[in-house]
Symmetry: C2
DNA sequence: CGAGTGCTTGAGCTACGTCAACCATAGTGG
DNA sequence: CCACTATGGTTGACGTAGCTCAAGCACTCG
């Protein structure tokens, strides 16, 4: 079975030669005229029950695919909100700034997941999104998306589900941070990643994490040292095999029972 | 200036005598035929820019106002999702069950806030909602609401903002749980409550909390003892005056700077 | 090959959890 | 009207999970 590492760096189905490419200093590259109707991960971002005419309408919505280099920002806190983004390949972290410049990671996103929903309320983004590796995103202008959702009922329902899923994801995070000890947090984090890789067709037992111990710690509300110790502990207990960012899950049942 | 305690227990504008009332064993009472167009808190739950015809359409949507007694559930985890709810008066907590029956509070809601959005993804509620006092909610069937959002653009935008606001609220909670110490959490909690009372026209400096120390602790990821100690500490530092559930904020600037 | 970045591990410290006693208030029944 | 009980809040004593600080190792990259 594929290991997530490999497919996550697979090139986009759109060949470099045929696409108009613009490059920015920021490390963000644009490629134009993508096609949802031909996209490999369309099942992840679009509702299943669209007619071919409806899919064609979606195609007109997505005018741009951007490549974001490792470490570059897709958007930053306080940027004007105009688009939401669907991650086509690669991975991101979303971060908020604490005062005194400390950052807190609020989420990790992988292929098929949506970014930017936090900007709808205030018209500007409240968190920033940083690529953990070279990644590509579909840029979806939000107003036209809303227009489309008024025309296509399944699309509307789909958007609502995406937003609701985000609410549920965050609720789970609140519960994790409110009730679990460090070891449980790390175990939970690994199971969650595994599950998400699994539903994307990658191996759910062996994968390459793209985030550092420091980012994991920040996300889980613990220090990087504690995160590291917990990886070691889980390894001693033979529940996972962890060698740096390479993870193999040995006993997911026991991890869940912690 | 009004203290929140008073208006929160103000009776609904709909007199008992003129309304058809059904009573259930669960402590939930239904009252029929409300009117958004005449509701005192309409500005909280509806977009500002609706025409009177559009408001009339909203009126047809809301067929029911329910009264929920203190301690009764509006919905429970795993209940089928059909409606969202807008809190008209009173207050709720939303809870999730940890395994072993421990509960974690994931939020407190007061007048004008929406409940139930977590159910959209899976078609069933993932958390439960329990009234902290005798409360009234408008019942809004979700499918008809979606239909209306396809017809009325400001309504659609409004719903998206409500959902996005919930996402942002939870992000803030994640940051609080991930980075703050107990004293900061409690300070933050009080400022947040004060702010919400303030935008509803109540006093932002003096109010009656409806939740116990145990519920506050659960919400903030600390024990009830620690919560209690922090209230005492803030009082010693002359930042608040706390006498049980009666709160007076003395120095909101200092609270924010903690 | 040296510098930078990330990971691991140890030693000591501390904020918070646990356990327990005690008080205040409110509702209940004789 | 006064015990009596239940519920919620406060405070103290003590234990510990995880933080802080620090050292050393493994990789990668110019």
């Amino acid at each position: 079975m594929l290991i997530a590492d490999a497919p996550m760096s697979t090139p986009s189905p759109f060949g470099q030669a045929t696409d108009f490419v613009r490059r920015f200093q920021s490390g963000v590259v644009q490629r134009l005229t993508p096609r949802c109707s031909q996209c490999a991960i369309s099942t992840l971002c679009n509702p299943a029950d669209l007619s071919s005419e409806e899919l064609a309408q979606v195609d007109t919505l997505v005018q741009e695919v951007r490549t974001v280099q490792r470490g570059a920002s897709l958007y930053r806190a306080n940027d004007a909100f105009n688009n939401v983004y669907i991650l086509r390949s690669g991975s991101f972290k979303t971060i908020v700034m604490h005062r005194e410049g400390r950052e807190q990671v609020t989420g990790f996103q992988i292929a098929g997941e949506m970014l930017g929903l936090d900007g709808i309320v205030g018209g500007q983004h409240l968190c920033g999104a940083v690529a953990l590796e070279r990644s590509t995103v579909c840029v979806i202008p939000f107003e036209p998306l809303e227009d489309l959702c008024r025309q296509i009922k399944p699309m509307q329902r789909h958007l609502h589900k995406v937003m609701s899923r985000e609410i549920v994801r965050e609720s789970n995070m609140i519960m994790l941070l409110g009730t679990m000890r460090a070891e449980q947090r790390v175990a939970n984090f690994l199971l969650n990643l595994a599950d998400r890789y699994g539903t994307r067709g990658y191996s759910a037992t062996e994968f390459n994490m793209r985030m550092t111990r420091s980012e994991i710690g920040s996300y889980l509300g613990i220090t990087l040292e504690t995160a590291s110790r917990m990886f070691s502990k889980l390894q001693q207990e033979k529940l996972v095999h962890a060698r740096g960012k390479q993870i193999r899950i040995l006993d997911s049942g026991a991890l869940a029972r912690l």
